[in-house]
């Protein structure tokens, strides 16, 4: 079966991705709500939305970094620009996300064009530092001097006194798409002890995520994608053959910037407040980590990396002493105290430590990122069958997600 101009293999892959995305509210909510393991459930709207949005961000970043080999340290700037554009549309027009999202893509694309044009005059770490410098300048100014535009530290938000010229009489007072309110849930079934949340906003981002994933798949498989991969492999040789690589790298930069802008716009579409910190270098670093952690250059890797990091940040930070007591209460006192003491290093206020350790472990033992972990597991199961076609050059084959 082939769909949308994809090969048979890619079609299957896309269908699997679509199924996984649509079933996420069930898949990441594996435990009954009443149980002690409820802490590990991630099936609530905000986290699901964040995973999908940062997945989009990482997919776009991967086109620049994974495919083309240019490591940008300033992509969070485009995320921020996307958010600010969208919130400004709320302030000027109304809460319909239809105005903000295209604008977010366009504005961040324009910024990416300018910044990319300048930064791509250099390569390697010089390029990285140029992008970092642009992003840090934008963050520092957004936090302080540009407060009239960005509302600084507090974050840009909608005030009652804003014009909102298109605001209709019956319009919802939070982001929506023609009346479909993003933060509302359309179905919250309870089955046994399990509770699932099907949220408008999540499905909105999920559908967009599938579309942009499909686009990225097409880019990977296109002659353009091949050219980008050639640039990563040996740019000098390409230059010698008379090919001007700059338009290709610039196109990759702008595309990834637009992905970031879309992600930023979606952040604002889910939650109408845009904080300046989302432009900081740590946020730029986060998307780099997501892509490397998941597997740079693979299709599914960035999404896995995004999900992994967001899960860690939101779930591990919430494990406090009373949760730990709940888990270990059945143990003898001494052992319980010991385990809680050990856990203090890894959860709650120390969740950063866990993420740091995870980065190290993954990069040490799985050089290809989480995707490689998936491949190894798959290889274990496949061992009995022939291992003939696992040849070279399949780096970008999305085997892991299957």
């Amino acid at each position: 079966m082939q769909i949308l101009g994809l090969s048979k293999r890619d079609s299957t892959f896309l269908l699997i991705v679509i199924a996984l995305t649509l079933l996420t509210p069930i898949l990441i909510q594996p435990f009954p709500v009443g149980s002690g393991l409820n802490t590990f459930n991630a099936g609530y709207p905000d986290l699901m939305q964040k995973i999908a949005i940062f997945g989009i961000f990482a997919i776009g970043f991967n086109i620049l970094f994974g495919l083309t080999g240019y490591l940008s340290f300033g992509h969070a700037a485009f995320l921020g620009i996307g958010s600010y554009s969208t919130v400004w549309m709320y302030k000027l027009l109304d809460y319909n996300v239809l105005w903000g999202l295209p604008l977010a893509i366009i504005v961040s694309g324009l910024f990416a064009l300018v910044i990319g044009f300048i930064s791509l005059r250099r390569s390697g770490i010089y390029f990285s530092i140029l992008t970092l410098a642009f992003a840090q300048m934008m963050y520092n100014l957004a936090y302080s001097v540009l407060t009239p535009i960005t509302n600084g530290e507090t974050g840009l938000q909608v005030y009652e006194s804003d014009p909102q010229v298109l605001l209709g009489a019956n319009e919802p007072s939070s982001p929506h798409l023609f009346g479909i309110v993003m933060r509302e849930n359309f179905w919250t079934p309870k089955i046994g002890g399990w509770e699932f949340t099907f949220n408008n906003g999540y499905y909105f981002t999920a559908i967009i995520a599938i579309i942009v994933f499909y686009l990225s798949l097409r880019i990977f498989r296109s002659p353009f994608g091949l050219m980008l991969r050639a640039i990563k492999t040996n740019q000098t040789r390409l230059n010698y053959t008379g090919i001007n690589t700059r338009p290709y790298t610039l196109a990759a930069f702008v595309i990834s910037g637009m992905y970031a802008g879309l992600a930023g716009g979606l952040l604002a579409a889910m939650d109408p407040l845009a904080g300046a910190e989302r432009m900081q270098w740590t946020a730029s670093g986060e998307v780099v980590l997501m892509v490397i952690l998941g597997g740079a250059g693979t299709l599914m890797g960035p999404v896995l990396g995004a999900a992994f990091i967001k899960y860690l940040e939101n779930i591990f930070s919430k494990i406090n002493d009373s949760v730990l007591h709940g888990w270990f209460a059945w143990m003898p006192d001494g052992l319980e105290d010991f385990l809680i003491g050990v856990s203090h290093f890894f959860v709650g206020k120390s969740w950063h430590l866990t993420s740091g350790l995870m980065f190290m472990l993954v990069v040490i033992f799985l050089p290809g990122g989480l995707v490689e972990g998936g491949q190894r597991i798959k290889a274990l199961f496949k061992k009995k069958r022939t291992s003939g076609d696992d040849g070279a050059g399949t780096e970008a084959q999305p085997t892991a997600a299957e």
Binding site: G155, G275, K318
Partner: protein
């Protein structure tokens, strides 16, 4: 007029609020989920959203200690703390409306985005009815806005910017902590007495919204004394080395340096100002002085000896001698082996005030709780008689003026109370220009139904 009134839901909501006064029992006891996260089991969950990573992690840790203590006291464990001294006797140590209080915690990272994400997970996943905590105004405003949208109550933690109950005030948000205006108003008379009326002040101000409101407030308060403002220089947040901002002070003709900095910025700028000899310097024939409008225990600890003799203000201090303070310090000290900080105190009090308001309202409905808090007058929680003003949800109470102690005996009394400025002195109109003027409105209470 709030815009949400024009929406269908807004109309229903307004109807519900109006109806609440007339026939509360029938409205709020009927049917499932009359409002966001209506507690149905035998527990009710609070969300304690404090910084657990980043520069303010220690402050968040202390807030968390106090919040846990408050939950214990509400549930009748421990010695009851301030419940014994609180003027309202609605809470009797059997939980809230027959439900046991429970809590979840989250990490704000002192970032608006992260704080909102953490608060959202509490609302969406854990079903909290109230969120409390935080140590920055940006976070407080961001989370307050979220609680307003979601239809739960926000009891602010440490947030000192005028905006929280000024231009960003919300019907579902309440602040017990004092604010920048109050700091200025409380400090002014003490500064006048100590340093006279003929002074020239140089401001270093953290370049973000809190810094600006703090600077604006203290400038207007000192100028009212007759002081002259020589200059106001904005410094980047987290600058670390402030030397290039401090050296121009020395030959500027100023004789007072006002540091509108908080946390690590204040520790570094004060330490470096002292290193550059400003404390020992003479200017205009007077001793050069340094003022830090907002103090905290952690800042005092970090700055060490450099705070000796430096004036500042606080919301509360464990060295107060009233019964409420003593009860709180005793139960906190016995549990954790240290006196509570003023951010811990405000979080503890806010949690109790919320629980008390629920009990008096007889409902967890945020609009009923808000109504019970609005205009509520109470005593026995450490600050003397206090009013939760209905117009802007700001508490009004005495403000403490502090000074770095010359001879501290332990690591906990590095600050001493100089003056308890009376509440009348720090009062202002709800439509004061520093608080958003006439444009600032609370909007409509939202219960999320």
């Amino acid at each position: 007029m709030s815009k949400s009134n024009f929406t269908r839901r807004g109309l229903l909501k307004t109807g519900a609020v109006t109806g609440a006064g007339l026939a509360m029992p029938t409205i709020f006891t009927s049917g499932a989920a009359a409002f966001t996260n209506e507690p149905t089991g035998n527990t009710v969950t609070f969300g304690f959203n404090v910084p657990q990573t980043g520069p303010y992690a220690d402050e968040g840790l202390d807030e968390l200690r106090a919040q846990e203590l408050a939950v214990e006291h509400i549930n009748g464990m421990g010695d009851g703390g301030m419940l014994n001294t609180f003027s309202s006797k609605a809470l009797d140590g059997t939980g809230i409306l027959g439900k046991k209080a429970d809590f979840v915690t989250g990490d704000t990272q002192t970032k608006s985005d992260a704080a909102r994400a953490s608060a959202k997970s509490m609302i969406e996943k854990d079903g909290v009815v109230m969120i409390n905590g935080g140590s920055s105004s940006g976070v407080a405003v961001a989370v307050q806005g979220l609680c307003q949208e979601a239809g739960i109550i926000f009891m602010a933690g440490l947030t000192h910017s005028n905006d929280t109950t000024g231009k960003d005030r919300k019907a579902n948000g309440f602040r017990h902590f004092f604010n920048a205006y109050m700091s200025g108003a409380a400090l002014a008379p003490v500064l006048k007495e100590a340093y006279g009326t003929d002074r020239r002040a140089y401001h270093l101000t953290a370049d973000y919204t809190w810094g600006w409101t703090q600077q604006e407030s203290i400038q207007s308060a000192t100028e009212a004394l007759g002081w002259e403002t020589v200059n106001n220089v904005l410094t980047p947040v987290g600058a670390g080395d402030f030397s290039s901002y401090i050296t121009p002070v020395m030959n500027s003709g100023a004789d007072v340096l006002i540091l509108n900095h908080y946390g690590g910025d204040m520790i570094n700028s004060l330490t470096q100002a002292v290193q550059f000899g400003l404390r020992d310097a003479q200017a205009n024939g007077k001793n050069f002085e340094i003022v830090v409008p907002l103090y905290s225990e952690l800042m005092a600890a970090g700055a060490g000896e450099n705070i000796k003799g430096v004036y500042g203000s606080m919301n509360w201090n464990w060295q107060l001698s009233d019964a409420g303070t003593q009860a709180f310090v005793k139960s906190f000290g016995e549990k954790y082996g240290r006196p509570p900080s003023n951010s811990a105190h405000t979080c503890y009090v806010q949690t109790l005030l919320y629980a008390d308001a629920v009990t008096r309202a007889g409902s967890f409905n945020p609009c009923a709780v808000a109504e019970a808090l609005e205009g509520f007058e109470f005593d026995g929680l450490g600050n003397g008689p206090t009013l939760y003003r209905a117009e802007d949800h700001q508490c009004f109470k005495d403000v403490l003026v502090m000074k770095g102690a010359e001879n501290p005996t332990t690591e906990y009394d590095t600050l001493e109370i100089v003056e308890q400025t009376a509440v009348e002195q720090v009062m202002y109109e709800p439509n004061h220009p520093m608080f958003g003027g006439d444009d600032a409105t609370l909007g409509e209470c939202n219960d999320g139904a």
